[in-house]
C-alpha cells in the first residue's frame, strides 16, 4: 500500500511539473503585493470612484457596505460625499448607460464586483492590466488600446490611469494607484475573506487539539488488543 501511495505522489509531481511548463507559455503577470489594510482599501476605493466608476459598476457592493464592512470602515459623512444623490442602499453604479457605452466603446464595460476572482492571476491580473498599456510593436492597434496582458492585446478600455508614456517621476504614484485598486477589488470580490481566515485559524487549532485527544483515546482503547 505504501509503495502505491509513493508512486502516486511521484506521478502527481510529474503532472504538476508539466503543468508549470505549460503556464509559462502565456505572458507572465507582474507580481504585486495585494494588501487588505484599511489605508490601501480606502485609497483603492477612491481610485475606483474617481477613475473606474466612469464606466464600471460594483453591483454587489452598496454605498452602505462601505461603512458596514469594517475592513473599509468609511464614516457616514465620507459615504454621503461619495454617493451624492444615490440612495444609501443602492449598489455602486456608474452613470454611463449601457446604450452610451455601446456607442462609445462597442461593448458594455463588465461589472467589477467579481473581477478579482474571475480572471487567472486575480489581483495581479488587474494590476498588470492597469500598468500594461504599451505601443503595439506591430503598429496595428492604436495607442491606448494595446495592452500586453489582455488576451489578444486589443482592449476596449482606454488606459484609465494614463500609464502609456507617463513621466518617470509619476511611475511610483501610478503603481501605487494600480496596487490600491487591485487590492480594493480583491477585497470586494470576497468581502468576508479576512473574517474567514480569522475564524479558520481557531477552527483548525480546535480540530488539531480534538484530533490529538482522539488519537490518545484510540491508543488507550486499543491497548488491550494485540495487533
Amino acid at each position: 500500500m505504501k509503495k502505491i501511495i509513493m508512486s502516486f505522489v511521484l506521478l502527481l509531481a510529474m503532472g504538476g511539473a508539466s503543468g508549470l511548463s505549460q503556464a509559462e507559455e502565456s505572458v507572465a503577470l507582474k507580481s504585486v503585493d495585494i494588501s487588505l489594510d484599511r489605508a490601501t482599501l480606502q485609497k483603492g476605493l477612491h481610485v475606483f470612484t474617481d477613475v473606474c466608476m466612469g464606466c464600471h459598476s460594483l453591483r454587489y457592493i452598496t454605498w452602505k457596505d462601505l461603512m458596514d464592512y469594517p475592513e473599509i470602515g468609511l464614516k457616514r459623512e465620507a459615504v454621503d460625499e461619495l454617493r451624492e444623490d444615490a440612495p444609501l442602499n443602492a449598489p455602486i453604479k456608474t452613470s454611463l448607460s449601457e446604450a452610451e457605452a455601446k456607442e462609445n466603446y462597442g461593448i458594455v464595460p463588465p461589472d467589477l464586483s467579481l473581477m478579482a476572482r474571475a480572471r487567472e492571476g486575480k489581483g495581479a491580473y488587474i494590476y498588470s492590466l492597469l500598468t500594461g498599456f504599451a505601443h503595439d510593436p506591430k503598429g496595428r492597434v492604436e495607442d491606448g488600446n494595446y495592452n500586453i496582458y489582455f488576451p489578444g492585446h486589443r482592449i476596449a478600455m482606454g488606459d484609465p490611469l494614463g500609464w502609456l508614456d507617463h513621466e518617470p517621476e509619476d511611475e511610483q504614484d501610478l503603481k501605487q494607484q494600480a496596487r490600491a485598486v487591485a487590492s480594493f477589488l480583491t477585497f470586494v470580490s470576497d468581502p468576508h475573506q479576512l473574517e474567514r481566515q480569522a475564524i479558520g485559524k481557531w477552527v483548525i487549532i480546535f480540530l488539531i487539539v480534538l484530533t490529538l485527544v482522539l488519537w490518545l483515546l484510540k491508543r488507550a482503547v486499543w491497548s488491550d488488543v494485540e495487533h
Partner: protein, 404 residues
C-alpha cells in the same frame, strides 16, 4: 455512557416496539470486525460524515438560492445574484456555501481512496460482489448529483459544462435529438434546464442516501474484508464499538483538519474546487477558451475525448463504468489481497496511474501530445479489465497466512 443509554428502560420501551435499539447495537456497537483493519478503512465513515455535511449545507443553501435565469442587467441573472447574496449578505452564508463546494470535492477524494482500498485488498470479491456494485452505484449517483449541482450558480463553467455534457444525449442514434430536448427542456440549456436540475439536485442525494444504507446493510451481512484478505477466526474479531468508533473518529478528525483548511484558507482550491471562470455569469454567446469539468470528473471526460468519434466516445465512457460494475466477475483469482498477488499489484499501480493521467489530461486543453497520452491511458484503463480474467492462470501468489 452509551451503554447506559442503551440499557435504560426508555431504550427498552422503544426496542419492544421498533427494534431500533437492536439495530443500533447490531450495526454500530456489536458489529464484529477483524482487528487488523488499517486507516484506509476509515474512509467509509469519513464519507458518511461528508454526506451528512453536504445534505445539511445544501438544505440551508436552498433556502436562499433562486433557480431562475431571469436577466438582472449587464449579463447577470437571478440565480447568479442569489449565490452572491448568499456569499455576501446572508449571515455566515459564505461559510455554508464554501463548505458545500469544498465538500463536493472532498466527497470524491474520500470515495476514490475508499474504492482504491477496496481494489487493493480485493474487497469486491465473493461474497462482497453486491457490496461493490452498490459502491459503484454510489459513485454514479454522486457524479450525477455534482453534474446537476454545478449548473446552479449559473456561471460560465456551469453553463458550458452542462451544454457539453447534455450534448452526450444528442449523440445517441435515432432518439438523440428528442432526448436532448427532453433533458434540456428546450433547444439549449436555459431556464427550464436550471429548474429541473435544481429539482434533480434534491432527488439524487435522496437516492444516494438509500443506496448508501443498502451498501452498509450489505456490508453488515458479509462483514468487512481485511488487509490479508483471508477469513478471520473468532479470536481475531473485535466489536466495532469502542475499537473502530474511536479509530474512525480519529480518522474523521484528521479529515476535518484538511477539509477546514480548504474551507477557510483556500475555498476555490486554486480553481480546482470552484473554477475561475465560474465567477463570470453564464453567457450563451461566448464559450470560454478553456473548459474542462471539475477534477473528479476529468478521468471519465478524458476517455470520452480520447475517442475520435462522438458516438463511440460516449460508448467508451459508458463502458468504463460497465467494467467497474463487472469487476467482481472479471477477477477470477482465489486470492483477495494484492499483498499476496504480485502481478495484480503491478497492474493496479499502472491502473491507478492511468486514471491519474486521464484526470490530468482531461483537465487541460487539447494538444496533440496530451491527446496521445490520454489515448494511451484510456487503453491502459481498459487493458486492466481485459487482462483480469486471465491473470490467475499465470500469477504465482505468495503463501497466504492461516489467520491474521
Amino acid at each position: 455512557m452509551i451503554k447506559k443509554i442503551l440499557d435504560s428502560s426508555a431504550a427498552q420501551w422503544l426496542d419492544d416496539r421498533t427494534h431500533a435499539v437492536q439495530y443500533i447495537r447490531f450495526h454500530l456497537i456489536d458489529y464484529p470486525t477483524p482487528k487488523n483493519l488499517n486507516y484506509m478503512y476509515a474512509f467509509g465513515s469519513i464519507a458518511l460524515v461528508v454526506l451528512i455535511l453536504q445534505v445539511l449545507t445544501g438544505l440551508f443553501l436552498a433556502m436562499d438560492y433562486k433557480a431562475a435565469t431571469l436577466p438582472t442587467g449587464n449579463g447577470f441573472s437571478l440565480a447568479f445574484d442569489s449565490v452572491e447574496r448568499i456569499m455576501r449578505d446572508v449571515n455566515s452564508g459564505w461559510l455554508i456555501r464554501y463548505m458545500h463546494a469544498v465538500g463536493a470535492s472532498a466527497f470524491f477524494f474520500v470515495i476514490y481512496l475508499h474504492m482504491a482500498r477496496g481494489l487493493y485488498y480485493g474487497s469486491y470479491k465473493k461474497p462482497r460482489e453486491f457490496l461493490w456494485i452498490m459502491g459503484v452505484m454510489i459513485l454514479v449517483i454522486m457524479q450525477a448529483t455534482v453534474f446537476f449541482g454545478y449548473l446552479l450558480p449559473w456561471g460560465q463553467m456551469s453553463f458550458w459544462g452542462a451544454t457539453v455534457i447534455t450534448n452526450i444525449f444528442g449523440a445517441i442514434p435515432v432518439i438523440g435529438d428528442w432526448l436532448l430536448q427532453l433533458v434540456r427542456g428546450g433547444f439549449s440549456v436555459g431556464d427550464p434546464t436550471l429548474g429541473r436540475f435544481f429539482a434533480l439536485h434534491f432527488l439524487t442525494p435522496l437516492l444516494l442516501v438509500v443506496v448508501v444504507l443498502w451498501h452498509v446493510m450489505a456490508l453488515h451481512v458479509v462483514h468487512s474484508n481485511n488487509p490479508t484478505g483471508v477469513e478471520t477466526s473468532e479470536k481475531n474479531i473485535i466489536p466495532f464499538h469502542p475499537y473502530y468508533t474511536v479509530k474512525d473518529l480519529f480518522g474523521i478528525g484528521v479529515f476535518l483538519i484538511v477539509y477546514s483548511y480548504f474551507v477557510f484558507f483556500n475555498p476555490t482550491g486554486n480553481g480546482l474546487i470552484i473554477e475561475v471562470n465560474n465567477f463570470n455569469p453564464a453567457n450563451p454567446m461566448h464559450t470560454p477558451g478553456d473548459i474542462s469539468p471539475v477534477w473528479y470528473l476529468t478521468p471519465w471526460y478524458e476517455i470520452l475525448r480520447s475517442v475520435p468519434d462522438k458516438l463511440l466516445g460516449i460508448i467508451g465512457m459508458g463502458f468504463a463504468y460497465v467494467c467497474l460494475f463487472l469487476l467482481p466477475w472479471l477477477d477470477r483469482s482465489p486470492v483477495r489481497s494484492a499483498r499476496y498477488r504480485p502481478v495484480y499489484r503491478m497492474m493496479l499501480i499502472v491502473f491507478f496511474a492511468a486514471i491519474a493521467t486521464l484526470g490530468y489530461c482531461g483537465h487541460h486543453p487539447v494538444t496533440p501530445e496530451l491527446t496521445l497520452v490520454g489515448r494511451i491511458a484510456s487503453v491502459v484503463y481498459f487493458a486492466f479489465f481485459f487482462m483480469l480474467p486471465f491473470v490467475h492462470k499465470f500469477e504465482k501468489t505468495k503463501p497466504l497466512p492461516e489467520d491474521l
